[in-house]
Point group: C2
Chain length 394, copies 2
């Protein structure tokens, strides 16, 4: 189980294709994972997801822990059964959301950040964003919740420091993350061995931190790689550090990761980023961007992003994207979709989400194909040239 | 075209089955028409509607006239093509919404009602609920808009007086409706003959008014029946007059309607009403009730209506209704659906709408079957007994 196999490598870049085996099926990499925060990819049914060939989705531990509660999901047979999704699922650790709570309040300075959510070496105390109730997450607790949920891939509990933290604080957070990583692994092994929770084996991925500092990122990469996880994630990027820094950090860590492990870049998912990061050896991605932009009426075409609200689409008979094979494009015109979005009709949100996710998943399939045919670099260049040509400011 | 054929008649009631032929397919009666106010049955795709075997939907002229405008829809090939629905459509005349505007403001006394929306013998001036802009509907205008939209069945422009109007006012409105009816027919014939708009023939239905007065209803039924429409509607009921009065009015009008015409009761659609009205000879129904209740988390079972928000469904593994064949019930548990609705997840609204519409359409198919097997009266009694047994107050 959880075998990662590399099938093709690009000759002129770090891009590669592979397969990752899980109890609920094989994932073809590079892969984009749609985000189903509360156990539902917003606006879509599980059947909609299958129709666009979604291989794996992500769900958020923090949200499911608060509501309905992981014990209820466990009682009902685990996340797969409860949400009627029999393909692979990845759950995050809850860490990112817990640490985001402090940032959302604008308390991003080191000290205040620490005191607002009360971080100590043992874990983090935080208040629910729903009702202000107090909760305490430790690495062990994060493992226990994720075992109750029963996803195929689960994530270590890490500290995600704000992008504008000091280097001193980034280092402190990184060391704490490393210590927690060891505790996560220990608790995960214990739970697996006692078969206390999930009926299927689960793969625990470690997470590299270190902020925007090359030396910290390298140190973290080496440490995490040494713990022999079936997969390794890069956390704390795409949180405001800028594209250039993000790519630089990726370039610093990948050389220190064993070639036999899939690399998962957390929270990244624009078409531009996907191409640049695949180029640098990333195998897995997730991001709320494509689903969120859909609910604002924005859609992808090969010529970039557009807003369906634009007046010129009022009498436009054509589909969102010419020759697109998604249900939305095969059935509905821009004129009708514009009407639905203008009128706040729920169907519009779903139809545009279907198109945008199909667009991204199709991009990933094309990327796989082009890597296989050793044509990725050229494909990337052409795609980006076209994609940037008419991009609207949305 | 527009042939209505009665296939089976119940021996002990006025219930009957039939078929009504339209350019976009045959409708099996008694039929329930889901309401797609703005050219979309709220939360559902056209594919969802087909999967639950929807034979015909209703769309609202008033809303489509205001946005996107019937000229845009005509330009894009008509309502069927624009909304990608190739089965029958019925549009109302816009009258009901225009007259509702005055009622929604609480101005239901005769005089004020008249002055707010400015009714005269020629037509009605009203303000758009969207932007306050002034518009003027006449019988001719209502026909022209509906020809531009191009539905299979279109409705005459009638005056729908408030339920608490005086008898004097009901009579006045009825006479105006009759005069308008003649003008609608004339304009419809003119448009059909010149083929000015819709590419397909359209059936114009007349509407019986007369409020809650037996003599007015009888007078109106005789008048409308005399004009030789392919179908006849009963308007102005189910607007607050009470169940008993509604059924009484139906009983008064049906004897005066030719047996060769389908009878359409406008705005009625609870399971109880459907059964009682089929029993009294009604062939067609529409109502926003099943779609609206879905968006509030209410669902039908054979034991009545329930609210998915109820705490006891939190860990309920069962489907909304045992043995139900809809996609929702075949896939998802009450626990998951309760979570979706509690979390305001859009998917929940759609899944419950699918179930409730499937429930009603399935009820209509069962009604057809039971009439055919001469078992309708018993079926109705048993259904209602069970349905009322556990009904929650929703």
């Amino acid at each position: 189980m959880f075998e990662f196999k590399i099938h093709h490598k690009a000759k002129d870049s770090l891009a590669r294709t592979g397969t990752f085996k899980t109890p609920h099926g094989v994932i073809h990499t590079p892969v984009f994972m749609p985000v189903g925060t509360k156990g539902t990819v917003k606006t879509l049914s599980q059947d909609d997801l299958k129709k666009i060939n979604t291989e794996i989705i992500l769900a958020n531990t923090y949200h499911l822990y608060l509501r309905p509660g992981e014990k209820i999901i466990k009682k009902l047979g685990g996340l797969h059964k409860w949400m009627a999704w029999n393909r692979p699922i990845l759950t995050d650790s809850g860490g990112f959301q817990v640490f985001s709570l402090a940032q959302e309040k604008g308390l991003t300075k080191d000290t205040k950040f620490k005191t607002t959510i009360k971080i100590d070496e043992n874990g983090v105390e935080f208040k629910s964003h729903l009702d202000g109730s107090r909760h305490y997450f430790t690495p062990e607790k994060a493992m226990q919740i994720q075992h109750d949920l029963g996803a195929d891939i689960i994530m270590a509990f890490d500290e995600c420091a704000p992008a504008n933290s000091s280097k001193k604080y980034f280092k402190e957070a990184m060391i704490r993350t490393h210590n927690w990583l060891i505790r996560c692994k220990k608790e995960h092994d214990r739970l697996q061995n006692t078969r206390a929770s999930a009926p299927n084996p689960q793969a625990l991925f470690g997470i590299i931190q270190g902020g925007i500092y090359k030396d910290l990122r390298e140190e973290s990469a080496k440490f995490v790689n040494g713990l022999n996880f079936p997969g390794i994630a890069i956390g704390g990027l795409s949180v405001g550090e800028g594209k250039h820094t993000m790519l630089e950090m990726i370039e610093k860590v990948t050389p220190h990761i064993s070639k036999t492990k899939p690399i998962y870049l957390m929270g990244v998912g624009t078409p531009e980023d996907l191409l640049e990061c695949v180029d640098r050896g990333i195998d897995m991605f997730d991001c709320v961007h494509p689903t969120r932009m859909s609910r604002h009426g924005a859609f992808f075409t090969e010529h970039g992003r557009f807003s369906i609200k634009n007046n010129r689409f009022k009498t436009d008979k054509s589909p969102l994207q010419k020759n697109c094979k998604c249900e939305t494009c095969k059935t509905y015109s821009r004129s009708y979709l514009r009407h639905l979005i203008s009128e706040n009709e729920i169907l519009g949100l779903r139809l545009i989400t279907i198109h945008n996710l199909h667009f991204l998943l199709n991009l990933m399939r094309n990327i796989q194909k082009e890597i296989k045919e050793n044509n990725f670099t050229k494909f990337k260049r052409n795609f980006l040239k076209k994609f940037k040509s008419k991009n609207e400011k949305i």
